[in-house]
C-alpha cells in the first residue's frame, strides 16, 4: 500500500510548486511527481539544497547528488530563516509517529516526556515546516497506534485545539491540507479544523479506516475512491527505486 500512498501524494502536487521535502515517502512522492506530471516542481531539502533534481532516491537529505544537481546550495541558517520562515515554501511534507484529529503531530516521544517508553528522533525541521509552509501534506500509515485521541507530545502544530488556534499562535502558513495514509486521504473541515475522511484507496472500506482510527472518525458525505496507480506511475516509481541505494 505504500505505492498507493506515494502515488496519491505525488498526484496532489501541481507543477511548479516549491516543496520542502523530507527523506523517505515524501521524497519518493515528490520525485515521482517530477518524473511524471510535474517536471517543474522545485524540491527544497533542509540541508540547503534548493531545486535539487536527483536521478535516484537519496538515503539522506544531504546526499551528494542533491547538492550537485541543485540550483543553489545555501547554509542551514539561511534555509530556515530566509526560505522557510519567510514564507517561500508552497508545500511542506511531514511524517510523524502520532497524529490527532486536528492534525497535530508527534515525532518526539511515546509515553511521558520525562520518562518515555520510546524516545523518537525529535523535532528537526518539522515544527517550522508545520507553521510556515503555505500548505502541509502529512504522510502517515493508518493505525490506532498512530491515529490517536491524544498525542503523547505535540512536536508540530496542525490546527491546535480548533479552527482559530493557528491565528492565535501567530502561525502564518495554512496548516495541513491533506493527510495521506495507506488507507485513504483525510482533509480538514474548514469550520471545525477536524480531519474528515474524503477518499479511500481502491479496495478499502470505510469500516477498516474507522477501526484504524483512535477517535470517532468523521466521513465526508462525498467520499471518493482514489484511482489506482497507473502503469506509467508504477513504472516511474520502479525506475526511481531501482536506481536507489
Amino acid at each position: 500500500m505504500s505505492d498507493m500512498m506515494v502515488v496519491a501524494a505525488s498526484r496532489a502536487l501541481t507543477d511548479g510548486l516549491v516543496c520542502f521535502v523530507g527523506i523517505g515517502l515524501p521524497s519518493t512522492a515528490c520525485n515521482l511527481a517530477r518524473l511524471t506530471h510535474a517536471p517543474n516542481l522545485v524540491l527544497v531539502y533542509e540541508s540547503g539544497c534548493i531545486g535539487a533534481k536527483p536521478t535516484r532516491l537519496p538515503l539522506s537529505i544531504g546526499d551528494g547528488e542533491l547538492a550537485s544537481t541543485a540550483d543553489t546550495v545555501v547554509s542551514v541558517p539561511e534555509i530556515f530563516n530566509y526560505w522557510l520562515q519567510a514564507g517561500r515554501i508552497d508545500v511542506g511534507f511531514l511524517g510523524a509517529a502520532q497524529i490527532d484529529r486536528h492534525a497535530n503531530l508527534n515525532s518526539t516521544v511515546i509515553g511521558d516526556y520525562a520518562h518515555p517508553t520510546v524516545r523518537l528522533p525529535g523535532a528537526g525541521g518539522a515544527p517550522e515546516i508545520a507553521s510556515a509552509a503555505r500548505e502541509v501534506y502529512v504522510m502517515i500509515r493508518h493505525s490506532r497506534r498512530s491515529f490517536v485521541e491524544r498525542l503523547d507530545f505535540r512536536t508540530s502544530v496542525g490546527f491546535g485545539d480548533g479552527p482559530s488556534d493557528r491565528e492565535r499562535l501567530g502561525l502564518r502558513g495554512g496548516g495541513p491540507r491533506k493527510v495521506i495514509t495507506d488507507l485513504g486521504i483525510l482533509e480538514p473541515d474548514p469550520a471545525t479544523a477536524e480531519l474528515v475522511l474524503t477518499r479511500v484507496h481502491p479496495g478499502v472500506d470505510v469500516d477498516t479506516v474507522r477501526d484504524a482510527t483512535g477517535w470517532e472518525l468523521r466521513v465526508s458525505p462525498h467520499l471518493g475512491v482514489t484511482d489506482p496507480p497507473t502503469a506509467e506511475e508504477l513504472d516511474a516509481l520502479r525506475r526511481l527505486e531501482k536506481a536507489s541505494p
Binding site: 538515503l59 546526499d63 542551514v76 530563516n81 520562515q85 524516545r119 525529535g122 517550522e128 501567530g170 502561525l171
Partner: protein, 267 residues
C-alpha cells in the same frame, strides 16, 4: 593564526573534559576522525551540541564521552533509531545522558546569535508546541515595533567547535564547499576551534559557493584524509550509505558495538 598540527595534538589542545563541544556537519563533512580521537583520548563529561546527532553521536555516547546532548533531531538518517543513544537515555549505559532539545531552526539560531556576539536570536518558532515553556534556553519575546510575540533563543557559545572541511593552505586558511550546513556559525560562536581537512595545499583554488574560514578565526587545523567517513567530503569521497545501514545491527548490541570500536577506533 591557526596552527597546523597532528589530529591527536589538535584534539588535546582544543577539547577538554567537561567542555561544551559543537561538532557540526549536516549529513556532509561530519568530523568522524575527530570523534574517534576524542574516544581514543577518553574525553569525559562533554556537552555535545549537534543539530543532527547520528552515527558520530551514537559512537561518542556509547563510549561514555557525552554527559549531555543539545540537539534538534537524533537518528540514523533514512535507516532508523540510534541504539546507543537510546540505551544511554533509557538505561544510563554506559553513563546517564541528559537531553536539551530544540527544533533545527531554534538551535541554528542559537549558533547565529553566538557567532554574532548577541545574547539571543529571534525566530517564529516553538509556539503551541510541547517544547514551549520546557526548554530553559527558549523564552517568549515581544517585538518592540509590532507587539508580535516571537521566540527568543539564547546564544550558544561552545568552548570548542570541531568540523571537517575539504582543505586548508599552509597558513591554515580553510575552504569548504557543497552542503556547508551550520559550520561557519558554529566555528565563529566558539572560544576554540579545530578543523580537520582532507589535505593541505599551497594555494586554495576557489570553488563556486565555497566558504573560507580565515586562519586568524581558527585555533587549529589537522590533516585527516577521509576524516568524514561514513559521511563524505564533496570532491573527495562519496557518502557510504551501506555503512549507515550496517550500523543499525552493530549498534543494537552493546558487545558488538564495543568490539567494533575496539577494532576500528582503539586498535
Amino acid at each position: 593564526m591557526a596552527q597546523i598540527m597532528d589530529l591527536s595534538d589538535g584534539i588535546a589542545a582544543v577539547v577538554h573534559d567537561g567542555d561544551v563541544v559543537a561538532m557540526e556537519g549536516f549529513t556532509h563533512l561530519i568530523p568522524h576522525a575527530a570523534a574517534h580521537e576524542l574516544i581514543r583520548q577518553r574525553r569525559r563529561d562533554l556537552t555535545l551540541v549537534r543539530l543532527t546527532p547520528d552515527v558520530l553521536a551514537d559512537q561518542l555516547i556509547g563510549m561514555g564521552v557525552v554527559r549531555k546532548l543539545v540537539f534538534g533531531w537524533g537518528g540514523n538518517p533514512g535507516v532508523g533509531s540510534l541504539h546507543r543513544f537510546r540505551d544511554a537515555y533509557h538505561n544510563g549505559w554506559p553513563v546517564p545522558l541528559e537531553l536539551e532539545e530544540h527544533s533545527h531552526a531554534g538551535l541554528v539560531n542559537r549558533y547565529v546569535a553566538g557567532a554574532s556576539g548577541l545574547p539571543f536570536a529571534v525566530l517564529r518558532g516553538y509556539r503551541g508546541t510541547g517544547l514551549e515553556g520546557r526548554v530553559p534556553t527558549v523564552r517568549p519575546v515581544t517585538c518592540p515595533f509590532t507587539g508580535e510575540e516571537l521566540a527568543a533563543v539564547a546564544a550558544i557559545n561552545p568552548d570548542a567547535t570541531v568540523v571537517h572541511a575539504q582543505r586548508a593552505d599552509r597558513e591554515g586558511n580553510v575552504q569548504l564547499w557543497g552542503i556547508v550546513g551550520v559550520q561557519k556559525e558554529a566555528v565563529l560562536a566558539a572560544s576554540r576551534s579545530l578543523v580537520t581537512v582532507e589535505e593541505v595545499v599551497d594555494r586554495l583554488e576557489r570553488v563556486p559557493g565555497d566558504v573560507i574560514l580565515p586562519t586568524w578565526s581558527l585555533t587549529a587545523v589537522a590533516v585527516a584524509p577521509g576524516g568524514a567517513h561514513p559521511s563524505y567530503t564533496a570532491g573527495y569521497s562519496e557518502r557510504d550509505n551501506d555503512f549507515y545501514v550496517a550500523w543499525d545491527a552493530v549498534s543494537r548490541d552493546r558487545d558488538a558495538f564495543q568490539a567494533w570500536i575496539e577494532r576500528n577506533v582503539l586498535a
